[in-house]
């Protein structure tokens, strides 16, 4: 009888053992290194994928910049969205509305897979900022942080930009705004100038003199690019704080598959998660009541999960299945390598 029970339980125990080993391996991964290489993979894919004939379409929820005309494997959704919204109103609110809805639906399908993980792992401009941060560390310049009051104020900018990014093209379509203002966010987005540089395309490094409006917009774009370089050097993920794509993501994030979950009962409010957060999201440490802890500024980089010493206090889940969670063993393993870099 005993041997019979053992024969039945053995495969189950074996499966459980394999599962546990796999889970321990994932939870104890050298997360920073893993993320670094994953970011490089996506950077190469989104900046040079076009040379390999890859085409993901025009609705990507990340900065696969359309101005990188040769290397892009797809186009950031904000660009076609602005152009579509600038169509004359009778067209936009007529048959062409189907095109807009189709584009949005495609964007939505892409988005719900990774949620704001598109920012933390995939976005080429985010990766560039992380590289600049790495440079700052090597140089030995200390990083900067916003005060809480500054954080609260600046956090609204991305929503203002998102609103203007939609309203200005609509104004163009209605005839109230000059067409020289088309794709207004692209005109000031630093990705327009920076990402094509990696494909040896310097054409966007220019001031467009074809009209006074274009002069103003492209000069402003150059100004924002200058701010980007300095800001990213002294502040981690400087641009992500103002990015309207991030705001757009957050409006849809509640229905996405990929989520960041917090178990407040297991949180000791040690503050490790806050100290490693590039975006300085205070709630990640202070809020012990909200399970879905992902805030609007979050880029789901999962550095907080990797830095948490409490068993299961923070976890990343996909469609309800935990794929990475905080563990004491993983924390200790990472601490030995220096997780708070």
């Amino acid at each position: 009888m005993k041997s019979s029970l053992e024969s039945v339980a053995a495969p189950a125990l074996q499966r459980s053992s394999v599962k546990n080993v796999l889970r321990d391996a994932v939870n104890g991964v050298d997360f920073n290194r893993f993320r670094f290489w994953l970011q490089i993979f996506f950077f190469v894919l989104l900046v040079y994928g076009g040379y390999a004939g890859i085409n993901f379409g025009n609705s990507l929820p990340t900065f696969s910049c359309g101005y990188n005309s040769s290397g892009r494997p797809g186009v950031c959704y904000l660009m076609p969205l602005q152009h579509q919204l600038a169509m004359p109103w009778p067209v936009l609110f007529g048959y062409a509305g189907i095109t807009v809805l189709t584009g949005f639906f495609t964007f939505f399908l892409w988005f719900i897979v990774l949620n704001k993980g598109w920012c933390g792992f995939v976005c080429p401009l985010g990766t560039i900022q992380d590289w600049i941060t790495g440079l700052r560390k090597r140089v030995g310049v200390r990083f900067a942080r916003y005060s809480h009051a500054q954080f609260q104020t600046l956090s609204w900018i991305k929503y203002v930009l998102l609103a203007l990014m939609i309203l200005i093209p609509l104004g163009i379509g209605a005839g109230y705004v000059s067409r020289d203002m088309s794709a207004p966010f692209c005109a000031i987005c630093p990705a327009r100038m920076i990402i094509p540089l990696f494909a040896a395309d310097f054409r966007q490094f220019m001031v467009d003199f074809s009209s006074p409006t274009k002069i103003a917009m492209t000069a402003l774009g150059a100004t924002v690019t200058g701010l980007f370089f300095t800001g990213s050097f002294v502040k981690k993920r400087f641009w992500c704080f103002f990015c309207p794509m991030s705001a757009f993501h957050y409006l849809l994030s509640k229905v996405a598959f990929f989520r960041l979950i917090k178990d407040g009962g297991k949180c000791t409010r040690c503050g490790d998660c806050y100290s490693v957060c590039d975006l300085q999201i205070k709630e990640i440490a202070d809020d012990v009541k909200t399970p879905q802890i992902m805030m609007d500024d979050c880029i789901v980089c999962l550095k907080c999960v990797a830095a948490c010493p409490e068993e299961g206090a923070l976890k990343a889940s996909f469609a309800g299945m935990t794929i990475f969670e905080s563990t004491e063993a993983g924390f200790v393993k990472r601490m030995e390598k220096g997780v708070n870099s």
Binding site: F202, F205, S211, A222, L227
Partner: protein, 423 residues
């Protein structure tokens, strides 16, 4: 020192920049340069209808008596130098396609040359202009208006409305010569010689600084029409020093009051002997007949890329064109010294009757042409310098602002001595 708050210096700048992006006043769109050929204008009242207009079905029988079509313009251009035969791969590829083949179907391609930039590409197998063995004479200073300012010009005769594909031509009769007129009224002739490729060339030596007018006059009578064709060239000997850059008399175009039809490029108020024409500039021409403005003349301008526009001269014989961009290389191939040729020609018709070489005619058609070279607009390359300057300035300024802010917040170490006796 506390690390927080140190972005105060950059934070407001960011807010201003980002909000400023959308606070930019929406400015009215300025008048734009024409970017597409306009429809053929209606003929002026003083002019007879064009004979190459498509006839109405009811007028088919009348076609038997219709005058011959207008001849293709005959024009002069500076012989390409080795320098001008390089560069611009893009434009060469563009114009070497179907258009070139169609426009010159049935012509002897072996006798053609491409002019200026793009000649190497024009000889590509896909092109319609296979012969690219352009004569080069790099040992001499060549050029016309705005292309070289030397005193020796080598001019080649071509025929056709498409500057990129027009073949060189050899006129049937012997003893063809170019008439040259200087600003002081001096006239002389220089003979055309066989250039060995089915074409003619001539060499003009200019003695003094200033603008010269050169022309070749051709007449032919057929079908009751006398065609008077003039191939004009505005030649310039330019330079610096010797005080020539301050002598306004040298900056004026040379006019010929005896010419039956004349095309004069109006010089800008700031034009000097070393001035160049750029894309985006206004090119103004006067059409004159025997020294008087000719109204109602049809004036066309075409560029190497195939862009063409036709307008009618006003009461003062004046027409104006905006020179559109004609140079679209890859960024890495951009050459700000790259020149493009544009061709402008004027046509007018009068009911003058007479006999020429034993053939009677009841109509006289005048046609004159001129070419010039123009360069990329300075904005095409300066715009990148401006953007780079802005990015570098903002980066440096904000970096300095952050550094300065951090320096200000540093407090020197101050030891606090606690006096226990007072406590």
């Amino acid at each position: 020192m506390k690390a927080s708050d140190s972005l105060t210096a950059i934070g407001p700048l960011t807010i201003l920049a980002l909000l400023g992006a959308f606070a930019t006043p929406v400015l009215a769109r300025p008048a734009k340069a024409p970017t597409a050929p306009v429809a053929r204008p209606a003929p002026a009242p003083s002019m007879a209808p064009r004979v190459d207009d498509k006839p109405a079905p009811s007028a088919v029988s009348a076609q038997l008596d219709a005058p011959p079509p207008w001849p293709e313009p005959l024009w002069l251009v500076d012989a390409p130098s080795a320098e001008r035969g390089s560069g611009d791969r893009g434009s060469g590829e563009r114009r070497g396609g179907k258009r070139g083949a169609e426009n010159h179907e049935g012509q002897d391609h072996q006798n053609r040359e491409s002019i200026g930039a793009g000649a190497p590409a024009a000889s590509a197998p896909t092109g319609g202009v296979p012969a690219a063995n352009a004569p080069t004479d790099a040992t001499e200073s060549v050029g016309m208006m705005n292309m070289g300012h030397g005193g020796v010009k080598n001019l080649v005769l071509r025929r056709g409305a498409d500057p990129a594909n027009a073949p060189v031509v050899k006129l049937g009769d012997d003893g063809v010569s170019l008439q040259v007129l200087s600003a002081d009224g001096k006239r002389w002739e220089t003979p055309f010689t066989d250039m060995g490729k089915g074409g003619l060339r001539t060499k003009v030596e200019l003695e003094n600084f200033g603008f010269y007018s050169a022309y070749l006059l051709r007449k032919s009578a057929h079908g009751g029409v006398l065609d008077v064709q003039v191939a004009q060239a505005e030649l310039l000997k330019g330079g610096m020093g010797h005080g020539v850059e301050y002598d306004p008399a040298l900056f004026k175009p040379t006019l010929d009051d005896t010419a039956p039809i004349e095309l004069v490029r109006e010089h800008g108020p700031d034009e000097r002997l070393m001035t160049s024409i750029h894309s985006g500039d206004k090119a103004v021409f006067l059409v004159r007949a025997y020294g008087k403005p000719l109204a109602g003349a049809r004036v066309s301008l075409s560029t190497q890329q195939g862009w063409r526009k036709t307008v009618t001269s006003d009461q003062n014989g004046r027409v104006e064109f905006t020179l559109i961009r004609d140079y679209f290389p890859a960024w890495s191939d951009f050459n700000r010294s790259q020149s493009s040729v544009f061709l402008v020609w004027a046509e007018a018709e009068t009911p003058e009757a007479g006999v020429y070489n034993g053939q009677g005619y009841s109509t006289t058609r005048y046609q004159t042409s001129m070419t010039a070279r123009y360069y990329p607009a300075p904005y095409d390359y300066r715009s990148q310098a401006y953007a780079l300057a802005i990015v570098m300035f903002v980066t440096a300024f904000t970096a300095f602002a952050v550094w300065f802010y951090r320096q200000r917040r540093q407090k020197p170490f101050k030891e606090i001595v606690f006096d226990e006796k007072l406590a």
